[in-house]
């Protein structure tokens, strides 16, 4: 795969109930990204957005974000999945050779709609909905329970992941304030309100308000714009079967195959040694463990034993991850931005030392049905 450079990015501060509207929030992110690269509106040749009709409360949700989203009289299109999938769309447009600068933005305001209730409509209307009440949280409960049972892992080990991510989030000024807690303990996580046993409130990535934007450019163009772009050297994506009962919930087959595709593209043979840090979109604490096993960062069943602190063996989610704030449609994009910050050495307060290669992932669907993985490399 040809290298594609990340030449600019911007993320707004995440709020659980923001005081300003979606329109302004999108403008702030898009304008911020363009300014961070020192460019102008006319430099953008293609704009990709990531929003959702339901989340926006508007059919054809990209029709009203044209002006603020940089889509005015531009080659514009929308992805209705995760922000990381929108980056894939932008990446493909760059790789087609027809575009010089691709703007990708994504995000929504979860304070405007009931996120978890909406996801009840994700199950099959014929076979599943009449039988039982299952939304993404209950499905996560299925997966967590299956994982705990298979490897004999204790619930405290999963709670430790939530503790680590919330502590990391406290160092990240842009993370959700509710998720920032430097003094949180495993007991706090386990004692928080039960959502669907064994999933407790603090193990869930709280949906919030936020938008992020990213600029992509082909190799030559990227070097003209900036001296130190972050390169996307590999990407992989995969989709798993829809029905939960058809899957082995204790692992993520789609993440494994997506990882293989991305590592092949980037020429990575041993991810354990070569990868310096990972930014995962873990909608629930246990997903981080399942992802790191699927990508071969740790052996199967050993995920909870990995030292994934900022100064650990392989730092995972130094920014706090999705648990540090999960704006639907924007989270995967923020993961890529956070990984890029680490590679540029701009992660003030939560910087991983000597970070050269990073993984960023996005997902969508129940129990991470669809996964997308990026390999990012810094330096020239």
């Amino acid at each position: 795969m040809d290298k594609v450079g990340i030449v600019g990015f911007y993320q707004v501060k995440l709020y659980s109930d923001a005081n300003y509207g979606r329109y302004e929030m999108i403008f702030e992110a898009v304008r911020g990204a363009i300014d961070s690269a020192g460019l102008k509106k006319k430099d953008i040749t293609t704009a990709i957005s990531c929003t959702n009709d339901y989340y926006d409360g508007r059919t054809i949700s990209n029709c009203y974000t044209v002006e603020v989203g940089g889509g005015y009289m531009a080659d514009e299109s929308k992805v209705e999945m995760d922000g990381a999938h929108a980056v894939l769309y932008g990446l493909m447009r760059i790789l087609s050779g027809n575009h010089k600068l691709s703007l990708v933005w994504g995000g929504s305001m979860a304070s405007c709609f009931p996120y978890h209730a909406a996801r009840l409509y994700e199950t099959d209307p014929t076979w599943e909905r009449p039988v039982a009440y299952v939304n993404d949280i209950t499905a996560a409960g299925f997966q967590m329970r299956a994982y705990l049972e298979k490897y004999g892992v204790s619930i405290e080990d999963i709670a430790k992941i939530a503790v680590k991510n919330r502590k990391n989030a406290s160092r990240n000024p842009l993370a959700l304030q509710e998720a920032q807690n430097a003094n949180i303990t495993v007991k706090d996580v386990l004692d928080s309100e039960i959502y669907a046993d064994p999933v407790t409130e603090l193990m869930v990535a709280q949906p919030c308000d936020g938008v992020a934007a990213l600029l992509l450019a082909p190799e030559k163009q990227a070097l003209k714009i900036t001296d130190n772009p972050v390169w996307i050297t590999g990407v992989g994506y995969n989709q798993e079967t829809y029905y939960l009962g058809d899957r082995d919930l204790t692992k993520s087959m789609s993440m494994e195959l997506a990882g293989k595709m991305a590592f092949d593209a980037a020429g990575i043979k041993d991810p354990k040694k070569e990868i310096d840090l990972a930014e995962f979109f873990e909608a629930y604490a246990h997903e981080e463990v399942i992802f790191s096993e699927a990508l071969g960062l740790v052996d199967m069943g050993e995920g909870t034993n990995l030292n994934s602190e900022i100064d650990g063996d392989i730092p995972i989610n130094p920014s706090g991850g999705a648990i540090g704030g999960n704006p639907p449609c924007g989270t995967g994009l923020i993961r890529i931005i956070e990984a890029a910050k680490q590679l540029k050495g701009e992660a003030d307060g939560y910087q991983v030392k000597d970070a050269k290669k990073a993984i960023a992932s996005g997902q969508i669907g129940m129990c991470a049905q669809n996964n997308i993985v990026y390999i990012l490399e810094g330096g020239n």
């Binding site: 702030e28 039982a132 409960g141 299925f142 029905y243 939960l244 009962g245």
Partner: protein, 176 residues
């Protein structure tokens, strides 16, 4: 960073906003009609009426699907061989949901389970007998379909799953 973005989102000025006029209207998400052709499921529905369960076997990969599927995603063919299943099975995984009654406000603890039928290769979402204590649920618990009194040949003929006596030896605690 240029002057334009010097205002950081963190210290964004709290703006005055007020609610504008509301337009009546609703998004009929829950009233949506989902169409599903049941022609290829007739044998399954007929058997349900006789209190019997069948799964669909894919001729390409021999996977037995229960509930029967229209298409096998792995082979992209229509599974076409009906195979008899037992009405017993085991809990493949579960989560406990806390449902609030909208009228009384009472919170009900309900185990949601994925049931793996004996003879099938896939599991399906189901509920346990409401009399089962949610604390007693475990992975691998043997269960049996509880039939409606008068099956009509529909999916809800299996109302829920009853507990079976677990005679597995490894459940007995060692004596010392």
């Amino acid at each position: 960073m240029s002057k334009l973005t010097q205002r950081k989102s963190m210290d964004y000025i709290k703006k005055q906003y007020r609610e504008t006029r509301k337009m009546p209207g609703s998004w009929y998400l829950s009233n949506y009609k989902y169409k599903y052709n049941i022609t290829h499921l007739q044998p399954f529905l007929k058997k349900l009426k006789e209190k019997k369960l069948v799964g669909l076997k894919c001729s390409g990969c021999n996977t037995v699907y229960y509930p029967p599927r229209f298409v096998c995603g792995k082979c992209l063919v229509k599974p076409n061989r009906w195979v008899d299943l037992r009405e017993t099975g085991k809990v493949s995984t579960f989560a406990i949901a806390y449902l609030k009654d909208p009228e009384t406000g009472e919170i009900q603890e309900k185990p949601m389970v994925l049931v793996h039928h004996d003879g099938a290769d896939t599991a399906s979402i189901a509920q346990l007998n409401p009399e089962v204590d949610f604390k007693d649920t475990y992975i691998g618990m043997p269960i049996k379909a509880h039939w409606a009194e008068n099956p009509v040949g529909g999916l809800m003929d299996v109302e829920y799953y009853d507990l079976m006596k677990d005679d597995a030896k490894d459940l007995d605690l060692p004596e010392d």
